[in-house]
């Protein structure tokens, strides 16, 4: 065990844990932020996605050694931003949420796309969400929600 310090949603945190422990477990168990979900545990489903130094990653694959001194943003932190409000509104209007388990990861992936590419086409949307699995919606409402934000940006 050792003290590991990193920035979480803008605030410095120190946790007593091991180098090999998953970022996902530290976020959910030690720090009690349960917006980040565990789905497959092997990098396929994207339910555990967070930003690490601004880049989207699967927190189930990141050991704490790779987090030391770096910045992590979870859905709880991202939910306080203007970018989140736009995504939330579009997801609600298009019915892109059913059971909601994939939604935090899906929202994080949506923002990861839109911040680099404000006007993605359908192919780019699908590619960007390829690492996020949803078992309810059939994806079409999610694609529509993302397209809606992209189209509104254009106006």
């Amino acid at each position: 065990m050792r003290n590991i310090t990193f920035t979480l949603n803008g605030e410095k945190v120190t946790v007593e844990t091991t180098l090999s422990r998953r970022l996902l477990d530290v976020i959910r168990i030690d720090l009690g932020l349960t917006g980040t979900k565990e789905g497959c545990g092997e990098g396929e489903c994207g339910a555990c996605q967070v930003y690490l130094d601004g880049k989207i990653v699967n927190s189930c694959l990141v050991p704490m050694s790779n987090v030391i001194g770096r910045e992590v943003q979870t859905i709880e932190g991202f939910a306080k931003t203007k970018a989140y409000e736009k995504i939330e509104k579009a997801y609600i209007e298009e019915g892109a949420v059913q059971c909601g388990f994939c939604t935090p990861g899906m929202v994080m992936a949506t923002n990861a796309l839109l911040k680099d590419n404000a006007h993605p086409n359908s192919k780019e949307i699908k590619e960007s969400l390829a690492g996020n699995i949803c078992r309810c919606t059939g994806y079409q409402t999610i694609f529509k929600a993302v397209k809606k934000i992209a189209d509104e940006e254009e106006k």
Binding site: I56, P63, N66, G131
Partner: protein
């Protein structure tokens, strides 16, 4: 009790590796999955680990007059977004796994892991990449096909790390890349095909063809590439390719599918390339 370490620099890492075995851990996108357990549990690592992802000395893409130099910790996403690298090198990396994985998975990890489905390996083989291995006593440079000996098998010694990959710069006139899997993204390849070539007017002057995820080690028939330039005989090349395929049926695909589809795709690409297309 396992002893995981996080060396301060490369020298400290190499000293540690010289004293005892550590599993070198970069991005972890393979190791974290192979050692997975139930929710909330520690991954069940069975060997001591040396974490290296924070070592900036091992990170970065550079170019010299005749080569691209890819240090071991460069991620697949960084390959894709590089301003230095040519398209033929960026395209295959842009189709590996998915965005979130590409942000942490490293090029060095893909090579050292030496999985049959490592999509970077056929590409690096076609480009005659060289690997620089380093231990505390010095370094050695190997061709990638000397380095990879089989599925998960390389000639890397326990006290060595892969420091960097050197890719000779060649002004190719075109390339083809096709990765086939059960879905378009986030998938292990059933097979992948990478071709680069040079032409002088309509005459082929250089061609390299590598086929990944079929045999344990990607297939590249260097002698047959030369013959193909001399004779322009596609059928001959495809016959030699057939006899080189020793794939087995597995969870990803069957030998028959891989053989038929590799041959059809290679034929299609060679016909396009040799009939004056780009």
């Amino acid at each position: 009790m396992l002893n995981h370490i996080r060396p301060k620099n490369v020298t400290e890492l190499l000293e540690a590796l010289d004293k005892q075995y550590y599993h070198v851990f970069a991005g972890g996108t393979d190791l974290m999955i192979r050692k997975r357990q139930w929710q909330g549990a520690e991954r069940k690592f069975d060997k001591d680990i040396a974490f290296i992802s924070h070592l900036d000395e091992l990170n970065g893409i550079e170019e010299t007059t005749d080569s691209y130099i890819i240090k071991t910790l460069v991620t697949q996403a960084e390959m894709t977004k590089s301003d230095i690298l040519p398209e033929y090198l960026k395209t295959p990396f842009s189709q590996m796994a998915n965005i979130a994985i590409r942000n942490i998975a490293t090029v060095g990890g893909n090579v050292v892991n030496a999985a049959t489905v490592g999509d970077s390996i056929p590409v690096l083989m076609a480009l005659d990449a060289k690997l620089v291995l380093k231990n505390i006593y010095g370094e050695r440079t190997l061709e990638i096909d000397e380095f990879i000996q089989g599925k998960y098998k390389t000639v890397k010694k326990d006290n060595e790390i892969l420091e960097k990959i050197i890719i000779p710069k060649v002004e190719f006139d075109g390339y083809r890349y096709k990765k086939l899997g059960q879905r378009k993204a986030g998938i292990l390849s059933k097979l992948s095909i990478f071709i680069v070539y040079k032409k002088d007017n309509d005459d082929l002057t250089d061609i390299r063809i590598a086929i990944g995820a079929v045999n344990e080690i990607p297939i590249r028939l260097k002698e047959e590439e030369k013959k193909l330039i001399e004779t322009k005989d596609i059928n001959r090349y495809l016959d030699k390719l057939s006899s080189a395929i020793n794939s087995k049926d597995d969870n990803r695909s069957t030998k028959n599918y891989r053989e038929q589809i590799s041959k059809r795709l290679v034929r299609k690409y060679l016909e396009e390339i040799m009939q004056g297309g780009i």
